[in-house]
């Protein structure tokens, strides 16, 4: 029997994710404060040091980067809540539901991306209110950039989540996935000005293209973007598809709900 994927399960996962995000006020506040600190502390500090580069002051250059940061952290943390779901047992509800297990991955990626986009929009409202965004913004392109970037970040987060068994890995993922992805992108500096090795890493990092797309949308006249708009979109779509494929494959393996199986194997010894 061919099983048609249903939308209600996706909605269920999405609703739970947003509900949890709204209840975890500190997580939401942190998601707003973190980028603002970068913008107003790092941005102001280095801005004084650097002055104007390529027609924009450093703080304005940083705006796409901090908006991207909100999505990177928001999507990654939401995707990583899958590990919490595995540990707390809520994953049991999802694996026993009548849908292919790859559908869980898709639902989680969509939810994590939605949570990230919501945080980005919230930050954007703040930035516009503070006068740090809005002038000359290409809004349609910005919407597309938010969507594509948050999906790619959620995908990367989901791959990390599908490979980690316990929340103990969380700090490791923070240090070895989220931070490198952030620092080795064009968030803080133009990619083309980076020394060769760092340049290679940044070019290979799909998140770089998300930030680049945000630069296209937020600073259309400043030429701060490093890559062509089309390339950004293709890389982000490709990275998302690849990440979903890898995470789905991982989930179709029994080890995706390893905590349960491990308990069983231990009991049987």
């Amino acid at each position: 029997m061919r099983v048609r994927p249903r939308l209600r399960p996706i909605y269920a996962v999405l609703e739970r994710e947003l509900l949890r995000m709204l209840r975890q006020r500190t997580r939401l506040v942190a998601a707003m404060v973190r980028p603002l600190i970068w913008l107003f502390v790092i941005g102001a500090g280095f801005g004084a040091l650097l002055g104007e580069t390529r027609g924009v002051d450093y703080k304005s250059f940083l705006v796409p980067g901090v908006l991207g940061m909100t999505m990177l952290f928001g999507a990654m943390l939401a995707a990583l809540s899958t590990v919490y779901d595995k540990e707390s047992g809520v994953m049991r509800m999802m694996v026993i539901a009548p849908m292919p297990h790859a559908w869980i991955v898709i639902a989680k990626v969509v939810s994590a991306a939605a949570a990230a986009m919501l945080q980005a929009i919230l930050l954007l409202v703040l930035l516009v209110a503070l006068g740090h965004a809005g002038r000359g913004t290409e809004w349609g392109l910005l919407a597309l950039a938010l969507l594509a970037t948050s999906l790619a970040c959620a995908g990367i987060g989901m791959v990390a989540a599908s490979f980690s068994r316990t929340l103990d890995n969380f700090a490791g993922i923070m240090n070895f996935v989220i931070f490198p992805v952030f620092f080795l992108s064009g968030s803080l500096y133009p990619v083309r000005d980076l020394p060769p090795v760092l340049n290679w890493f940044a070019t290979a990092n799909p998140y770089t293209y998300g930030v680049d797309l945000l630069k296209h949308a937020l600073l259309p006249h400043a030429q701060s973007a490093d890559f062509a708009l089309g390339l950004d979109l293709v890389v982000l779509a490709g990275a998302t598809a690849a990440a979903v494929a890898v995470a789905s494959w991982r989930f179709s393996q029994e080890s995706a709900y390893e905590p349960m199986i491990r308990v069983l194997a231990r009991r049987s010894e």
Partner: protein, 316 residues
């Protein structure tokens, strides 16, 4: 999703497993299991911890891929049509599947949507089921604030929200105190009376399996035998003799000569007394009972069956 399941009254076996096996490396968790459960039956899978009960249940529920054999659940093959199997069954795991941060109704809403139920249906069924499980007053409380018994009851509500044909219960009363265990059993009884659903239960609380239509014992991944609980107990004999004594070895040897092989469990030895004749036991007590510090004769129960089967004894 609807078409294949909706065909008339189902007379097919609810569960049919043939040579079902699972190994993890060198560890054989389940070894060539044959199992057939009729529609509407209340079936108990009994066995000590680590005997393969949960692995069996998870294979039938499509969560673990069998490494040998086949299983057909609700008419669908567990490896070829896992999604259809999952649509037809409810599974209550040994450990909670609930989100402790959400409220009772939020959990059920989440579970219902995962089963693709419309919100109206979820609302109706949760009202009805929370009533049935004495949880109506708790609907807005977070799950973390519920007692262990309430959480288990809610987990069962979650497992039957989509009105499955077959309900799998993995040790539904484990970790609960006696009053709560009784409550859970009352709920399961009510549920069966109302829906007539097939229930496959695993437990190692043997006295709880008394209400099953049929029980099967599983030991080291193999099904030992199955039958109605009463019939099993009767096969064990009319009475069980429990003795204790300073020279238990000698005492046991003397009794074994008369009653056949017994069981030793710490400081107690058990013997089966097949005769109805209590007089014979009294005479035996007069002969060798003087060497015993304790001498108890009682009716056998499912626990005895379990001990005998777990020890690898043949009950015939």
């Amino acid at each position: 999703m609807n078409a294949p399941q909706a065909i008339g009254v189902d007379t097919r076996a609810a569960v049919r497993a043939t040579g079902l096996g699972k190994r993890y490396g060198d560890l054989i968790a389940v070894d060539g299991l044959d199992l057939e459960i009729a529609s509407g039956e209340f079936f108990g899978l009994l066995g000590p911890n680590g005997s393969g009960k949960t692995t069996t249940l998870h294979m039938l529920a499509t969560l673990i891929r069998p490494s040998a054999g086949t299983a057909v659940v609700a008419g669908f093959d567990v490896t070829r049509e896992p999604v259809s199997v999952r649509a037809a069954i409810g599974l209550v795991f040994q450990e909670s599947a609930l989100d402790r941060t959400l409220s009772v109704t939020e959990n059920l809403r989440f579970a219902g949507l995962l089963y693709d139920l419309p919100l109206r249906v979820i609302g109706e069924r949760q009202r009805e089921l929370l009533e049935l499980f004495d949880l109506a007053d708790q609907r807005d409380r977070p799950v973390a604030a519920l007692s262990g018994g309430m959480r288990r009851a809610l987990d069962i509500v979650r497992g039957v929200l989509h009105e499955p044909r077959i309900l799998f219960l993995d040790e539904p009363t484990i970790g609960l105190d006696l009053p709560n265990r009784r409550r859970i059993w009352r709920f399961i009884e009510r549920l069966r009376a109302r829906t007539g659903m097939t229930v496959l239960l695993t437990t190692h609380y043997l006295e709880e399996a008394d209400g099953c239509d049929r029980v099967a014992f599983i030991r080291k991944g193999r099904l030992v035998e199955s039958g109605a609980p009463r019939a099993w107990v009767e096969r064990l004999g009319r009475h069980i003799l429990e003795v204790e004594g300073p020279d238990l070895d000698g005492l046991a040897a003397a009794l074994e000569a008369r009653l056949g092989a017994g069981l030793r469990d710490g400081d107690v030895a058990y013997f089966r007394c097949p005769d109805e004749d209590v007089g014979a036991i009294a005479r035996l007590q007069a002969e060798v009972g003087t060497r015993a510090s304790a001498w108890r004769v009682r009716r056998p129960n499912l626990n005895d069956v379990f001990l005998w089967v777990a020890d690898g004894k043949d009950l015939s």
